[in-house]
Amino acid sequence: MAEIVIKKVRKEFGDFVAVKESSFKIEDGEFFMLLGPSGCGKTTTLRMIAGLELPSSGEIYLDGEEITQKLPSERDIAFVFQMFALYPHMNVRKNISYPLISQHMPRAQVKDKVDEVAAILGIKDILNRPVGSLSGGDRQRVALGRAIVREPKAFMMDEPLGALDAEFREHMAEELRALHDRMGATTVYVTHDQLEAMQMGDKIVVMNNAVVEQFGTPQEVYDKPATMFVADFIGSPSMNFLHFEGRLASGAKSIELQGRKVPVPQLREGTQGALAYGVRPEHVRLMTEGGHRAKVIATEYLGTTQIVTLETPNGDLKARISSDQMAKAGEQVGLEFIGETVTLFDVQSGRALRSELNEEVLTNG
């Protein structure tokens, strides 16, 4: 069991800054996601926690003990890589046993441990098979088995599902999460897939350009994004930004778009300049009369819902509405926004304006 604290950690490779002063805390037993586009610094962060890279500055604590400069082998952390690195000439049992045998654990005890892990992973019946004959899913399970069997304090996983196709990935994601719920070990998981992060994580750190943009629960980062980057990166389709110029006072409860008042959560700060009205696709309503005028560009059927792409004087936006509601390309419609879920952004800095919606999250972050 382990709590991991990252304090002002920075990593440079020559002139290149991979991670800028980042701080966050991973609670004991959490499934913790490091999320961001490629090159954002998430894998470097993970490797620093595991001890595969040493930070240029800052500290890392594992259960209160500083481990910043310790060797990977002294940290009691298991690493699961993107590509399942198994020993091809050994069978499944030997692959899983390997970490224990190299710790000189007695044979009988190794056998019990491996049997126990195989039962957890549902791979008891393939223990004697050569790994070369296994499906992708079973290989991944064996790789996990090898990590779990040591009972480390924490698991580090670097896009372990990245190589799998979509349908199977979703299945493995569910399996991994269920496994975590049974074992309760602290897990740090790197991914660029926002849906995976939302689905599996207890907490998410969103990184971009070597910086932590936001840190919170999936619901927080989705509902109360701290920056335009987070708002755009999380959600599919992502948050819409309607651009406008204006001067807003603290305490305002609405803004003006094309001469129409639209509601916003009460602002806790004032600002002026280039602003964006950020609204999630599912918080846009289509009406035949009134509202903010827009033209339907395209519709995409998704079963119970559909995505409608719309053109407005403040930029294009997407709405997620019931597929029973009619919308045809070329049609003029009216839009209404669910004001209490809206986030306003300062376009220049990309920062969310403080409001009654996000105040708590932004002050903590």
Binding site: L195, Q219, S236, Y301, G303
Partner: protein, 332 residues
């Protein structure tokens, strides 16, 4: 543009039957998406139509004419592959012009220019025409490789997962764009993918493939609302449809029913069977509730502000269940 017909087409590779007795009509002007997992026979079907593979049995007609024995070029089809294969030493303009300048077409240069510009307009890349193809982003490169198919006016466009190597955002943009292009050009398109979102959002008709067989063919809505088999039911919808043994939730089942399928949105709360909450997933646009009833896991949707917690019990009941027999065939 032309209608494409496959009649009883079978193709095997050694002992593996890749395509089995396929009956498929791609109507003129349609956007047909073949959906199935890896190994379902999607790409083989496409290659058979293109003339890159020969069927063991059956016939293929393009525009009413059998194409047996015709070379890919003679079939007048245009293919777009998963990996964009552009000529790196040529400009975007020359890449787009390439198919038109082929010895078979020998298009006059003024005609080439008109076509290339027209297609660049459709793909929103007219400002990139002078660029080397290596100076483009991934999305732009894939647009150019689609454009290289579009400059010609073939009888049909065949596309093999053209968006799968792109990131999620770009894929979403290009989905809308492909659909627009299809409408603007009034083209006939056969597109294969394992991505259910692509199938649902773009297709006029979806063909669901399973182990080389076409199991159902219809509009996305028909496939989603009226799956003919349990396999088809499981192909569309996120989260996946729940497939449960009959009677688990106490529904009235017709005779012969073996399993019942329930879309996550078709599970009602408040009365019915006891279910234990395993986990709540906040995905933003939807909130998923993972439940356990007896020994079975199921997923349903709930209110984003739910106060439920793991370990609690809720009562659930089925709404418009779909029944299947022991072989997975639909019972009405």
């Amino acid at each position: 543009m032309a209608e494409v017909k496959l009649k009883g087409v079978t193709k095997s590779f050694k002992s593996t039957v890749a395509v089995k007795d396929m009956e498929l009509t791609v109507p003129d002007g349609a956007f047909v998406v073949l959906l199935g997992p890896t190994g379902a026979g999607k790409t083989t079907t496409l290659r058979l139509i293109a003339g890159l593979e020969k069927p063991d049995k059956g016939s293929i007609e393009i525009g009413g004419e059998p194409v047996f024995g015709l070379t890919p070029a003679q079939r007048d089809v245009a293919m777009v592959f998963q990996q964009y294969s552009l000529y790196p030493h040529l400009s975007v303009y020359d890449n787009l012009a390439f198919p038109l300048r082929s010895p078979i077409l020998r298009t006059p240069e003024d005609e080439v220019e008109r076509k290339v510009k027209e297609v660049a307009e459709v793909l929103h890349i007219p400002h990139k025409l002078g660029n080397k193809s290596t100076e483009l982003s991934g999305g732009e490169m894939q647009r150019v490789s689609i454009g290289r198919a579009l400059v010609r006016e073939p009888s049909i466009y065949l596309m093999d997962e053209p968006l799968s190597s792109l990131d999620a955002k770009l894929r979403a943009d290009l989905r809308v764009e492909l659909k627009r292009i299809h409408a603007e050009l009034n083209a006939t398109l056969l597109y294969v993918t394992h991505d259910q979102i692509e199938a649902m959002t773009m297709a006029s008709h979806v063909g669901v493939l399973n182990e080389g067989e076409l199991v159902q063919f219809g509009s996305p809505r028909e496939i989603y609302e009226n799956p003919r088999t349990a396999y088809v039911a499981a192909r569309l919808g996120q989260p996946r449809i729940n497939l449960l043994p009959v009677g688990l939730l106490g529904e009235n089942a017709p005779s012969g029913a073996h399993s019942v399928a329930l879309r996550p949105e078709n599970i009602g709360y408040g009365d019915g069977r006891d279910a234990t909450v395993l986990r709540i997933e906040h995905l933003g646009d939807q909130t998923r509730l993972h439940l356990k009833v007896a020994d079975h896991d199921l997923v349903t949707l709930t209110d984003p502000h739910t106060t439920l917690a793991p370990g609690e019990t809720v009562q659930i009941k089925p709404i418009s269940p779909i029944f299947f027999d022991a072989d997975g065939a639909r019972i009405n």
